[in-house]
Symmetry: C2
Subunit: 408 residues, 2 copies
């Protein structure tokens, strides 16, 4: 038997079934027209943002990282809750445009921006977080051709990392951002060019659950920003402090102590170095805002035994839930939180593995988990499916195609 | 410095550039309309099938596993070369239908077949490789409703594995197929039902480079088939012996000795047990037929240094090349064969990492490789991209979208 991850709070049960926003899983499936289905909860996202706002300093802006979940109804819903958006491609620029988001609140980071993406972003008034001197030169040339004043920030490759993070984005050689010692020269060049100087983007890592680690990284980020502002010799209008706030996926994971993070940041802000005293600070969060607010529902199409082990074969799989299958950036596969949605209040009674419909042994959604004794037709729920699910999975694999999505 | 995998034979150089079918990489990109681009070589696939045919016994059928690469022009091209096709979903059924493939030569394996998929396959005369007793019951019921005689085979969960294979599909508890000891009872039931009894599908693993391991698994497969035919008490019209033939991806990998496999299989066929003497045998190959015949071309959009390391940032990435990035079913990341396509004949002179345009440290296509000193605008080639590339990668990640594809 292998443990399951913790089911996020905010879900409840109606008539013994998992419910989102008071609506039973089977009713959600009926509304959407079938399975597999991602369901995202507006209320849970609102609650998450409200909790975050109350923990964080008042003057800290909160940005949403579109890459975590670019489902347009979700973007439309979140746009009233956050202060800005971060995009990672020209494709995401089109998505935020379609969602009616104010493009002046959008910044664009990513190491391989093509000329057409720079052009579209500059024309739209999006802030570019420049990843290299070469990209800066291209952006200035394109802005010149457009006759448009570009809004330019520099993404810094920090000389520290976010300890314990799932993905380290700083500390040592990296394809992201510009090494700290080269930032002042480029910043002065941007200021001198007449571009709108927007400041810095410093992102040290993602998916950290330790408040101590986040507090340390935020402290280092502010120190570095102050030092760079001094060396640049011009104020930083804006500082994107990155994100890194993780969510619990696996047994034993504890939620991030957001209160501790907010308190430490408030203390920092009260003693802010003079060089960045007038800077507008933001944190950029994706997974933390929406990850726990989503659940993936798949239907059991076969129930079979092999050599004494029970398999629940679903119509979902790694083509929508690559990370949950353990095949995306993880070395050791561990179970996400999983439940039988249509038997949500029943006690676990059998050990079973939940697999997808793909003809590959990689397609395992729960390995040797204790679950209620589910049958063909029951719905399986994979939690923590609100971020890096639908778009971070190979939807076309084995001719399957994308899942349905629903925001309730 | 980390080694690169071996570049498959069959590619050549024209005017110093990588060429496919005599056409330079930059010309292929111009024809397709841009990058990132998958290019598949018809000639290399033809040569591969011809080589395989000459090594294998004459009476062995060769099937293509559509999941490896379902690009429709490739399916259209390969249909004159092979004797049948294996599909893994209703979506792939639609693809082979569109490619004008004779559906009587198609078989359908996969652990989570939905009712609509069973119905579509039965109506089309596709052979179902049944994965469980439950699926058999559903198929018979659906065929009854359709008034159609279904073509039914049983997928066996073999009690042995393919040693050294990248993916083990047999040996112990598995979600695939039916445990051997339960096969005879189900087969007799199928025969008694009046369905068209098609025989067995035994698939022990994939991506093996050792001829000894393949020979052993094929021997075990034939022994098991003979034993099951005897226990069933009815002849096996057909035996799908699976595949498992691997291709070299990494430094040190040696190509499979296909001559040795063919010779051993011919010997086996000369001494075939009487129970399966009239059986039609096939092997089902995907990666082996098309994997080395494909190359992925991406354009360098930035060239940057960080802490003394050189990064070539391309407009491609793991959204098209998940396996090459080391994030799909591998524990230790190793480099695929990679080259600078526009400097194909130049000697390596610098150590560089090739990364994609995605804003994640997972997006690395070559790690610390020795390459010619490439510049912005040069094309990077990732080889072994003909199988499990485009459709086995999260194309929508970070708003990127699918790559272009071209068969030449």
């Amino acid at each position: 038997m292998k443990p399951l991850g913790p089911i996020p709070s905010g879900f409840d049960a109606v008539d013994g079934e998992l419910a989102v926003g008071g609506v039973r899983a089977s009713e959600l499936v009926a509304r959407a027209g079938g399975t597999p289905l991602f369901v995202y909860s507006k209320a849970m996202i609102e609650q998450r943002v409200a909790k975050l706002r109350s923990a964080m300093p008042d003057d800290l802006s909160i940005h949403y990282a579109v890459k975590a979940n670019p489902y347009i109804p979700l973007l439309e819903s979140i746009k009233g809750l956050v202060d800005g958006f971060d995009i990672a491609s020209g494709g995401e620029l089109e998505l935020v445009r379609k969602a009616g988001i104010d493009l002046a609140t959008v910044s664009f980071a990513g190491p391989g921006k093509r000329d057409w993406e720079l052009e579209a972003a500059i024309a739209a008034g999006v802030t570019l977080n420049l990843e290299s001197e070469g990209e800066a030169a291209r952006a200035l040339a394109i802005a010149g051709n457009l006759g448009k004043r570009p809004r330019l920030a520099i993404r810094v490759n920090p000389d520290f990392e976010l300890r314990g993070s799932g993905m380290k984005m700083g500390g040592g050689a990296k394809p992201f951002g510009i090494d700290t010692e080269r930032v002042p020269a480029l910043a002065r060049k941007i200021v001198a060019s007449g571009a709108e100087w927007r400041g810095l983007h410093i992102f040290a890592g993602s998916q950290a659950l330790s408040s101590e680690a986040i507090i340390e990284a935020q402290g280092n980020t502010l120190d570095l920003a102050a030092r760079l502002a001094r060396e640049i010799g011009a104020p930083l209008p804006h500082l994107n402090m990155g994100g890194g706030f993780g969510i619990p996926y696996f047994a034993g994971d504890e939620p991030l102590d957001i209160g501790a993070v907010g308190k430490a940041l408030s203390n920092r802000f009260e003693n802010i170095p003079q060089e960045i005293a007038k800077t507008q600070f933001c944190i950029e969060l994706g997974r933390y805002l929406v990850g726990e607010a989503g659940v993936y529902l798949a239907c059991i199409v076969d129930r079979k035994e092999s050599h004494g082990e029970l398999y629940l074969v679903t119509d979902g799989g790694l083509h929508h839930q690559l990370a949950a299958s353990g095949n995306f950036g993880t070395v050791v596969r561990r179970n996400y939180p999983v439940a039988i949605a249509t038997q949500f209040t029943r006690s676990p009674s059998v050990e079973a593995s939940v697999v997808g419909c793909l003809c590959t042994p990689l397609d395992r959604l729960a390995d040797k988990a204790m679950l209620p004794d589910a049958q063909v037709g029951d719905l399986v729920a994979i939690f923590c499916a609100g971020a890096y699910g639908a778009t971070a999975s190979p939807a076309a694999f084995l001719g399957q195609g994308p899942a349905l999505e629903l925001l309730v």
